[in-house]
């Protein structure tokens, strides 16, 4: 019976998370304000608790980037970390109340790895959306 409840809960969570994706995308897009140009790409990952989405990107020197990362209908439920290719930690939003967006001023071109996962308080599953904007 316990297994049944777990399976049922997981299925219902997935269904709910899938339906939320469009709303989450709208919430996230509001953080890429008009002073940033979208990189033209849209990233989604359906996550269960403890799963991590990995996002590989190149950031050009001399540019300012805005990374927005969201899940659900409210800000602050997605944890993300930014590393360089040597896995040195550049930033983690958990130090700033799970901030839904952050700006990165890049002095010199580098490749980064962004990891995103649900904050456990957000629920068992969710649709994670990541968007990136830039300006020179």
């Amino acid at each position: 019976m316990k297994q049944l409840l777990i399976i049922t809960f997981a299925l219902l969570s997935f269904v709910g998370a899938s339906a939320q994706c469009d709303i989450t995308a709208d919430v996230c897009q509001s953080h890429i304000t008009d002073d940033f140009l979208s990189d033209g790409q849209h990233y989604r990952a359906l996550l269960l608790t403890d799963q991590v989405a990995e996002f590989n990107a190149t950031l050009y020197g001399g540019s300012l980037y805005r990374l927005a990362a969201c899940t659900g209908t409210q800000d602050g439920n997605l944890v993300f970390r930014v590393f360089d290719k040597e896995r040195n930690l550049i930033f983690r939003n958990s130090e700033f109340k799970n901030a839904p967006y952050w700006d990165f001023m890049v002095k010199s071109t580098l490749d980064v790895i962004i990891e995103a996962e649900l904050d456990p308080i957000a629920g068992a599953s969710g649709c994670a959306v990541m968007l990136m904007g830039f300006k020179r």
Binding site: L11, F14, A45, N56, V106, D111
Partner: protein, 306 residues
């Protein structure tokens, strides 16, 4: 059947139907390793769609970023570097349509930055036509085209519209189980952008532009990852082969990277990344990259004749 089994079966069918209709994807991984994110899938399963679990995502820099750099270093508008075939009706396969939509999209950004409204509008119409052929809802274009026409003199607004158009198209394709098309559009845009850099580097002999070419060494890795992820049935083998050949050339680009502690300013919601990197591209290697990317581009824009 016991009531509990019936409940599970009902929920499973309901969930499957809903995920399918919502463009959802079945879970393919239960990887819980935080230190290294889940391994990438070999590619889209036949019923795969927008939602991925534990998958790697690859970002390609916007072609607009390189177009801005070209303007910044003093390059003049050079219409000859655009794809001269703006008809696009000869691109009949999904693959050639997607790649050329990427090419035209990069051309559009370049024209827009230099304020060439006539070529911009022609290219936008071509993009709309190809996008519609690829199944992107005309509704995605209709609203933005109207806003575009009303702001022809405002470059900043037009740039926002175009980047939004690209993002909405990408979102639409991913929602509709067409991630392979999305990847091919990005591929075309990246090829065109690198083509601009190589051609104009020769004309301008500018260090920033030459470095931009060298900086594609790692972006190329992301490009390969993105295409391989979508190469389920080998349909993209020719692209993978070309990219691997390009990778061999890029191995001769020297690069260095030095980690420097970043500085975060919470009040401004900003982190300054201070790490230093450099690339070294010899004239010989630049010539090889230029020749190879020219070949690749020709194989894309000439695909209407094949």
């Amino acid at each position: 059947m016991k009531p509990t089994q019936l409940l599970v079966l009902t929920l499973s069918i309901g969930a499957a139907l809903c995920l399918s209709s919502c463009g959802g994807e079945q879970t393919t991984s239960s990887d819980t390793d935080h230190s290294s994110a889940s391994k990438p899938k070999a590619g889209n399963a036949p019923n795969a769609s927008i939602l991925k679990v534990g998958d790697k995502l690859f970002n390609l820099p916007s072609p607009l970023e390189t177009a801005f750099l070209i303007e910044e270093v003093g390059g003049h508008f050079n219409e000859a570097i655009l794809n001269r075939n703006t008809d696009a009706s000869g691109y009949s396969t999904k693959q050639s349509q997607a790649m050329n939509l990427g090419i035209y999209g990069a051309d559009l950004g370049y024209s827009l930055i230099y304020g060439h409204s006539q070529s911009t509008f022609t290219l936008l119409a071509t993009c709309k036509r190809l996008g519609t052929d690829l199944g992107i809802s005309p509704a995605v274009y209709t609203g933005l085209m109207g806003r575009f026409e009303g702001n022809l003199q405002n470059r900043d607004s037009l740039l926002i519209f175009v980047s939004e158009l690209n993002r909405m198209s990408d979102e639409y394709l991913k929602e509709n189980e067409s991630e392979d098309i999305s990847a091919l559009i990005l591929y075309g845009g990246w090829v065109e952008s690198l083509y601009f850099s190589t051609v104009l580097t020769q004309e301008l002999d500018d260090e920033k532009l030459r470095n931009r070419v060298g900086e594609q060494k790692n972006t190329l890795g992301n490009m390969v990852g993105l295409i391989e992820q979508q190469n389920v049935d080998g349909a993209l083998d020719n692209i993978v082969t070309q990219l691997k050949e390009l990778e061999v050339i890029f191995e001769n680009v020297g690069d260095s990277y030095t980690w420097v502690e970043p500085q975060t300013n919470p009040e401004e919601h900003m982190t300054v990344i201070k790490s230093q990197s450099s690339v070294e591209v010899s004239p010989e290697v630049l010539a090889e990259i230029t020749a190879k990317i020219d070949d690749i581009r020709n194989s894309i824009i000439g695909s209407s004749e094949s």
